[in-house]
Symmetry: C2
Subunit: 279 residues, 2 copies
């Protein structure tokens, strides 16, 4: 066990499932010398098809577990749906800084776009919240969002390089392009507004028109986290000579988490502990 | 409100989501003069990717709501996953008769099959429980099961008559056929072991070899329920001159339930009441 007096701060990372491990992976690349507590609320996933009220309740319980029981000093909500529908509720429920993935994704889109018109693909709940559209509008961008509910199941089936997945992506992006043209948008940037989608990035980049920039909100959120941490005392501790420490928690089958999680994290997730949030 | 002294008994029907409405539909066709209380545990769906422990906890809470709070005198577990993993737990938790969908599906397969070899398609959790294989073996059948995790999302996307869905069904059934051949099975019957799959029946019937019988476990469970009720006093009450009464409950967004539910029920679901099971 690490000694709290000399260790780097604990960074809590939360998702409804495994997708948030793409954010954890991007965080570890940028801040390797830190202690990470990752919670996947796998007993209640997916959040993407549920209501704001239910998502907020689940997300607050998960955030409180990381902040109160795991001593996380920062929280990264590595779930677009929870960021879109529950960031305010989480910020009110815990006293530590909380970072979502929506605003970093919108900021990266602003930096990437020349036309000021961007497209966003995400889950049903994220799209219905219009959180990306609102964040983009605040930054002076026009944004059009589209729900792509089949992409998460396709990733979880392991069909990340499959002709069916390529066809589903083509159908979704064709519908989005037609809708963008009908709205008079000249989009040059596509935001991947779900932490599962980075695993489909090669297929998505093959499907978009030449020259379109693809923004990964997991990467953008990790960049924002580094900027946040660098402005705080934590940064010096996090840069001390200490190896990466990763604690993983799940609310359902730890075996499945261990098996699927490595796909998203890009390395073995190690031992996963089962927690009961009462849901 | 109906008067308990003269009304037909309340039949409780439970599913993790909307799929069980295909069972309710089959029940109403057979027992139109009854009062039905249907609960969709939509805040915690899907069950099909979760562990036995979690599924049992959710299913018991749902069954107790129908038996204790809605006064259901019979329960039909219109969810293959909950029937496969939690039927015993439910039967122990409530004092009314409880019918699942697995054994009726296996019985119908026995009646349909000439070779004694059957195939079963279902969710991950149902397949991992091997509940269909066990029920089939008890009846003297050999059974091979296959998880088809993309079919539920495809139905929920509304792609019930879509080329992508036809292709996914072809891939799954080809894999299952190859596996059956490798096991030396001469299967002539396919059981639809998930209450979403009846909506894909036309595509599935196009994909199976000529002469293969397709068994819908929703229909089989409704037939078994009629036999169960006919052996009880309830049958006479249920045949009294009384219109069908349907009460629907959901643990998440009632708007979504009202919108999607009619697709499964084959008619409007009417008003849906939100319930909180504490999850």
């Amino acid at each position: 066990m690490s000694n709290p007096a000399v260790s780097a701060p604990t960074i809590g990372v939360f998702d409804s499932g495994f997708g948030g491990l793409t954010v954890l992976r991007a965080l570890i690349e940028r801040l390797p010398r830190a202690r990470y507590a990752f919670l996947g609320d796998t007993a209640r996933l997916p959040y993407g098809s549920k209501s704001r009220r239910t998502i907020a309740r689940y997300a607050v319980e998960s955030a409180q577990f990381l902040a109160h029981e795991q001593g996380a000093e920062f929280l990264v909500i590595a779930c677009n749906t929870a960021s879109a529908l529950a960031l305010d509720a989480i910020q009110q429920a815990v006293s530590v800084p909380v970072l979502g993935v929506i605003e970093p994704g919108a900021s990266a889109a602003r930096d990437a776009s020349r036309t000021g018109d961007v497209l966003v693909i995400a889950t049903d709940a994220t799209v219905q919240s219009h959180a990306y559209a609102a964040a983009c509008h605040t930054l002076g961008l026009r944004a059009l969002e589209k729900a792509c509910p089949l992409l998460v199941p396709l990733v979880e089936e392991g069909w990340t390089d499959h002709p069916v997945t390529a066809e589903v992506i083509r159908i979704y992006l064709d519908e989005l392009s037609a809708d963008a043209a009908a709205h008079g948008l000249h989009a040059d940037t596509l935001v991947l507004g779900c932490t599962h989608y980075p695993l489909l990035r090669p297929l998505i980049e093959q499907a978009v028109p030449a020259g379109m920039r693809v923004i990964d909100s997991a990467e953008s959120a990790a960049d924002a986290a580094v900027r946040l941490f660098n402005g705080r005392a934590a940064a010096s501790a996090a840069s001390a000579a200490q190896p990466t420490e990763i604690l993983c928690f799940a609310t359902d089958s730890v075996e499945k988490f261990e098996r699927l999680g490595s796909r998203f994290l890009g390395r073995p997730v190690g031992r996963v502990e089962l927690v009961d949030l009462g849901g």
